[in-house]
Amino acid sequence: MISDRVFKIGSAVKGDLTRIKKQFDQLANQTSFTVIDLKDYVLRRGILQRKESGSLEALVGKVLGMYLSKDDVLRKNDEWEELPLKPELLHYAALDVLTSQLVFEEATKVAPLDQVEIDTPGGTQVSLLTQEGGSIIAYGRIASLQPNSLGGVRVNVPTRSRLVVDIDVVVVPSAAVILHILPQSMSTSSQKTKAGAYTLGQLLAASSGPTFQIVTPVTLLAFNHHNVVSISEYVFDHKIYIFSHQNSPSLSSPLMQAAGQVQLPSNNLVDIASQELSSDSEESSLDEGEADDNIVEMKMLEAHTESTTRQKGIFYVILPAIFYLIILGKVKDANRMLFKMSQLQHLLTHVQFFMK
C-alpha cells in the first residue's frame, strides 16, 4: 500500500476524485481517499471561518493576499477534450493546480488550532459548544467506548465526524442537542427546539444517573484543558450565578458537583438576585396577553411551591425564588413553566447547601 502515503490536495478535491473513480471500473468499489481539502485545511488553522467561502479564489485572497482570475468561459468549456489543448486552457489548468499548492504551502506555516479530533482519546475533558466557535453549553468527557450508534443516533458515520460524550455538567439546559432528534409524536410546537431536537435538560431528566451520554459533531467540541471549571457561568435564563467548581465524579449529580465547591457565600446569591429584581423592574409593564399568561404561571407556581415546600421543608428560601420567577414574566406555556420549576429545584439545592 503506497497511495495512503500520497496526500492529494485540492479545492473540492473529493468531487474530482469521485469523477475519476467512475471512469475506472477497477476502482468501482474503492472508498478510501487520502485527500486534504484545502478549505478544511485552512479552517483548521483559523485562517478562514466556516461561514466564509472556501472557493479557490477566496482562499487565494485570504491566504496569499492575492487575486486569482477564474474565467468562467474557460472553466465551463466544451473543448477540454480537443487535442492539442488550447494554450489558454493549458494555462488555466496549470494555474489552478499551482494555486492550490501555493495556498497549501502558505497555510502550512500557520499552526493548526487546538481542536478535538475523532481520534482524541476517551476520557479527555471537553466543553460542548452551542455552535462551532460558540458559547459553552455543557462540560463532559469523551466516552471511552464509541459505539456504532447511541439511542438511535448513528455515531460511526462515513465522514467520521461524530463522537459520544459523557456529559457531567449542563450549563444551558435549554440548548438543543442537534443530533438527538425528537420523535414525530413529541414534536409538538411547545416541546421542540428550533432544531427539532431534544434539549440537554430533557436528556438529563431522562437519564438515570448524574452523567448522561450524547452524540455530537466533533466540531462542537473544544478542549477543556484545565479539567477545572474555575469560574463557571451557570445561566438560568436571565440570571447568572458565578461560582467555582471542580468536576468530581463521586458527587451525586452534576449540579451537586457544582454546589459542592461553591465558594461564594450565600448572601452573594441574594445580592445578585436583588440586583436583578431592580434591573428587571422596567419590564413590569406587561401587555394583557402576557398578564394572562402570568396568572396561569402564578397558579402553577403556587401549586408547585406548596408541594415543594412540604417536600423540602425550606419554605423560607422558596419565597424569594418565587418572586424571581414572577419577575421573569416571560414564560409562555406550561411545559416551559415546569422546566423553570426544575431549575428552581436546582437553585434550592444550592441554597440548601449554603445554609448547611
Binding site: 502515503r5 500520497v6 492529494k8 474530482d16 476524485l17 487520502t34 496549470a94 489552478d96
Partner: protein, 111 residues
C-alpha cells in the same frame, strides 16, 4: 473586483513547466518515478496538489487531470485522461502507477 482592492494577480511563473503526459508510457514512467522514494523509505510521504477539468457536456468522468507534486514546485503534469482512457481500454491496460497514486491500491492490484 478583488484587483480593484489592490490585490496582486496570481499567475504562473515564467520558468514554470507544464508537462503533457500524452501516452500511457509517459504516465506510468512519471508516476512510478514520483513514488519511487516511497518504496525505499516506508516512513516517507508525498504531497501533491491535484485538480481535474471536464467538458461541460460530460456527465461523468473527467477530461484532464492535473498533478503538481510539491517536491517539484516548478512543474505541473497534465494527463489527458479521457483520451488515454480509450487507448487503454482497447489494449486492456491499466494505469497502475497512476491509480496507485490516486487511490488506495485495490486488493486485486495489491500483489
Amino acid at each position: 473586483m478583488a484587483a480593484a482592492y489592490g490585490l496582486k494577480p496570481l499567475d504562473l511563473p515564467l520558468d514554470f513547466k507544464i508537462i503533457w503526459l500524452g501516452t500511457s508510457e509517459l504516465v506510468e514512467n512519471t508516476f512510478s518515478s514520483l513514488m519511487a522514494p516511497l518504496d525505499l523509505d516506508k516512513s516517507m510521504s508525498l504531497t501533491a496538489s491535484i485538480d481535474a477539468e471536464w467538458k461541460m457536456s460530460r456527465k461523468s468522468g473527467v477530461s484532464i487531470f492535473q498533478v503538481a507534486p510539491h517536491s517539484q514546485s516548478d512543474t505541473v503534469f497534465i494527463i489527458p485522461v479521457r483520451f488515454l482512457f480509450f487507448c487503454l481500454s482497447e489494449f486492456k491496460l491499466i494505469y497502475l502507477s497512476f491509480l496507485n497514486f490516486t487511490f488506495y491500491l485495490h486488493p486485486c492490484f495489491d500483489s
